[in-house]
C-alpha cells in the first residue's frame, strides 16, 4: 500500500493496523497469557516476580501495547464480521464504523489500563 500514489485514509490505515495488532497479539499477547498461567501454577514466588515485571516500565509498556491491540482487534474484528454479512460496505458507513471502533478502542484501552496499570 506504500507507494508514490498512496494517500493515507482511515480505512487503509485501520486495515494494516488490524494485521499489525493481530501479529502482536499472536506473537506476544498469547504467550504472555500463557506466562501468567504458568506463573500461577509455579506458586507465589513466580507470580510475584511476574507482577513485579508488569509494574516496571518495560512491563507496563508491553501490557499497554497488548491492551490496545486487544481492544482494537476485538472491536475492528466486529466491523469486519459485519462487512462479511454484506452490510455497511458503503464508504460512509465504513468510515462511521471506523470512527466508532477508534473511539471504543480508546475507551476500552484506557479503562483497562486504569484498572490494571
Amino acid at each position: 500500500m506504500i507507494g508514490p500514489y498512496y494517500r493515507p485514509q482511515l480505512t487503509s490505515i485501520m486495515s494494516i493496523t488490524h494485521r499489525a495488532t493481530g501479529v502482536l497479539l499472536s506473537v506476544i499477547g498469547a504467550p504472555l497469557l500463557l506466562c501468567w498461567i504458568i506463573a500461577v501454577n509455579n506458586g507465589p514466588q513466580s507470580y510475584n516476580a511476574l507482577t513485579e515485571f508488569f509494574s516496571g516500565w518495560l512491563g507496563k509498556l508491553l501490557v499497554l501495547a497488548i491492551l490496545f491491540s486487544m481492544s482494537f482487534h476485538l472491536l475492528n474484528g466486529i466491523r469486519h464480521l459485519i462487512w462479511d454479512t454484506g452490510r455497511a460496505l458503503e464508504i460512509k458507513s465504513a468510515y462511521a464504523l471506523g470512527w466508532a471502533v477508534l473511539g471504543g478502542t480508546v475507551l476500552l484501552t484506557l479503562s483497562l489500563a486504569g484498572v490494571l496499570l
Binding site: R19, S26, I37, V40, N41
Partner: protein
C-alpha cells in the same frame, strides 16, 4: 489467450486450493473469540491487583478453567490462521516461508497443549 479451459475453472472449483475453509475457520474462530475475549476482559476487571491466592482460586474454578482452555485453543488457532496469511503475503523467500509456516503451526499447537495442561493442573490440583 489460451484455448484450453483450466480444469479447475471447468469444474467451478475456483483456484482449487483450500481458501474457503481458511476463510470460514478464521471467521468461526473470530466469532468464538468475541465471547471468550469478552469473558477475558470481564475477568481482567475482576482480577485487577489480585494476589497469588486469588489468581489461583480463579483458575481453579471449573467454569473459569473450561473458559480459559477454550480461549487458549481458539486464540492460538485464530492467531495461527492470521499469521499464515501474513507470512504468505509478505515473505518472498520460499525456504524462509516454509520455515515460518512450520514455526507458526508448531508454536500454536504447543501453546494449546501447554496452556491446557497448566490450566488442568490447577483445576484438578495434581
Amino acid at each position: 489467450m489460451s484455448m484450453v479451459n483450466p480444469l479447475a475453472k471447468a469444474r467451478g472449483l475456483g483456484s482449487a486450493k483450500s481458501g474457503v475453509h481458511h476463510w470460514y475457520a478464521q471467521r468461526a474462530s473470530a466469532l468464538l473469540l468475541l465471547f471468550l475475549v469478552g469473558w477475558l476482559i470481564f475477568s481482567m476487571f475482576r482480577l485487577a491487583g489480585a494476589d497469588h491466592a486469588q489468581a489461583s482460586a480463579f483458575l481453579s474454578s471449573p467454569f473459569n478453567a473450561a473458559f480459559m482452555i477454550l480461549l487458549l485453543i481458539s486464540l492460538f488457532y485464530h492467531g495461527m490462521l492470521g499469521l499464515q496469511v501474513v507470512i504468505e503475503d509478505y515473505v518472498r523467500r520460499p525456504g524462509l516461508e516454509i520455515f515460518l509456516h512450520f514455526l507458526t503451526r508448531a508454536g500454536a499447537f504447543s501453546g494449546m497443549a501447554v496452556g491446557t495442561v497448566y490450566v488442568l493442573k490447577l483445576a484438578i490440583g495434581a
